[in-house]
Symmetry: C2
Subunit: 360 residues, 2 copies
């Protein structure tokens, strides 16, 4: 059973929770916008379903509600930012804004971030570039759930990559994807349904290919995009590694199996080689390459041509990256955001605990 | 049956061929180095096996042996280069050098290229950054062989991405991969063996999943990394699209299904929206993010930690991107480069035609 809430209802509630954590008014507003953008775009695993998790990290002293986020190193087109253990939902937009400002002057801006934590959906941050006529990129490392090709050990997070490219009359191109075959949120949906996972999503602790949607709870691993060596898992492993290195080795965050876990009850890894989670952001001015109007005309042409590609039998159209999320956003703007009962109940309990009324 | 040649033998021959095309001494040397780096690294589909193909493109007037390669647009951290229909093997190193020079001043350099053609292996160009203590990136679009998710139409090339990251005592991290489940070269190997392809590499013309290694000759398509929607092919489709857009829409090259074909006998597409193939290059100074020695220590630590990940049963070690190619290069440096008979015979015939002796 689902309960449906308006954006405004969930906004007021979420904002109230961040205020009780001690966030400033503007930080609470930013964190709420980023978090709810996931619910609006249909990426339910990264929205208000995670709110309690952020609160628990704050309670555990792993999130600083009043961070002093600062640039600690820079060149004309780069910066490294220390997030001071702030909410990733706040640190990431700060960092993306620095990338955009760099790009205004240097053509492009590239920012690596340390001492942060979960930043919501990568797509939100990448899309910040669009209104400035820039291509935006965002990626982050995450706690280790993914085994490299030929390994049984969890070494990488789902390490997503988002790329947002402006168009003219057409909506923008927005890709936002985990570098695994399937994101953990999809497994959670199957767990609730007590359904099996397709072969190629997970492996058991000993490396056996598995259809057990609960494999991660039994020391199994998610598989890199490509599933197995024969189907290119070494490419997904390389992509996840690149995200890890750009986000954490570039900045001084904790990388690979040392990335700090999101669940507050999981102990921090020993001998961490850096500070907190890492992110990486890029902004490239469209007119750093060709006149903006000309660029947008060709992006429109690119999008229309790909939309007109011959559909396979059983499909009525070919999608452009970003189409499903934009269509979901239009639906939820009109009809509201449905939450599964477990999430609604969790939020209600959270609200009661800290004195913020959950809508009903 | 294989024939084995020394690097020097193939260098002399290949260099001689480029000279007969009218390339300058320095361009012939550069093109030869790039082409043979593929053979040395074991990426046989992109080495001397393609030499006749370049010659046929030149005969067809699609390659200009004496190009005036120039920067046509720039900002402190970006440039667009017109390759003047030169050999991609020459245009790409020129462009990567511009990216490196930009990075020396601005911290990073990003170069999009139009009016080029096949540039050999992406990894060569990305690795040019390493000796400058920079991370290098290289990508290119290519003629359309790949169907987007839910489509039967060939809309994208195999569009590879290469990323090279310097380390200290450890060898560098070098990822270089097509954004498809399998590259076309792997299908060609199966064709020679008259073997079937694994399910998930190709589909038939009507979109049916296929194990036919000859499916591309029957209007079938390669599949994006991920193989099918359930295993994340929309992610491979997004990656291939990003490469296409950065390489060709950024620069003014021909994109998507309009990318010019490599085989000279294939007619050029109608109504091309740009000029030639496109590439995209990046260079990021390591010390644009943190002190170089500190960065390298952590890259060494990253590499050693991943190498020590628990191997799956049946495997004795976990590889780092770039390991297989580097190991192949060590073997071929010692033992020479083996060519299959069809390639050796093709080169011999080419040499006889233009008066360059093929070694025996």
């Amino acid at each position: 059973m689902n309960y449906t809430y308006s954006y405004e209802q969930l906004y007021q509630f979420t904002h109230g929770i961040f205020i009780t954590m001690g966030c400033s008014e503007s930080d609470a507003a930013m964190a709420t916008r980023v978090l709810l953008s996931a619910d609006m775009r249909g990426i339910d695993s990264h929205g208000v379903a995670r709110l309690s998790g952020y609160v628990r990290l704050w309670e555990a002293g792993r999130i600083n509600a009043t961070p002093n986020i600062k640039v600690v190193h820079e060149t004309p087109s780069t910066a490294v930012i220390d997030g001071d253990a702030g909410l990733g939902l706040v640190v990431a937009p700060f960092a993306m804004t620095v990338a955009i400002e760099k790009a205004k002057v240097a053509g492009t801006g590239w920012v690596s971030v340390r001492n942060s934590n979960h930043f919501g959906i990568a797509g939100y941050h990448a899309m910040m570039a669009l209104e400035h006529d820039m291509t935006g990129m965002a990626m982050t490392n995450a706690s280790a759930l993914v085994a490299p090709t030929f390994s049984t050990e969890r070494m990488l997070g789902t390490n997503p990559i988002a790329v947002a490219i402006p168009a003219g009359a057409q909506p923008p191109f927005v890709a936002d994807f985990a570098t695994t075959t399937a994101a953990n949120g999809k497994l959670e949906i199957l767990q609730r349904k007590q359904a099996e996972a397709p072969l190629g999503w997970v492996q058991e602790a000993d490396g056996t290919p598995s259809t057990d949607a609960n494999a991660l709870k039994k020391d199994g691993s998610l598989l890199p995009l490509g599933s197995d060596r024969e189907h290119g898992s070494h490419k997904g492993y390389a992509l996840g590694s690149i995200v890890d290195i750009f986000s954490a080795v570039f900045s001084g965050a904790s990388y690979g199996p040392w990335a700090p876990p999101f669940p507050a009850y999981v102990p921090m890894p020993q001998n961490m080689p850096g500070v907190g989670l890492g992110h990486f952001f890029g902004a490239m001015r469209v007119d750093a390459f060709r006149p903006a109007e000309e660029f947008k005309e060709h992006m429109d042409n690119w999008i229309m041509r790909f939309r007109s590609a011959t559909p396979a039998p059983g499909h009525d159209r070919v999608l452009i990256p970003g189409d499903p999320e934009r269509e979901m956003e239009a639906i939820r703007t009109k009809e509201g955001i449905p939450l599964v009962a477990s999430v609604a109940n969790d939020l209600k309990a959270l609200g009661e605990k800290v004195g913020v009324a959950f809508p009903h």
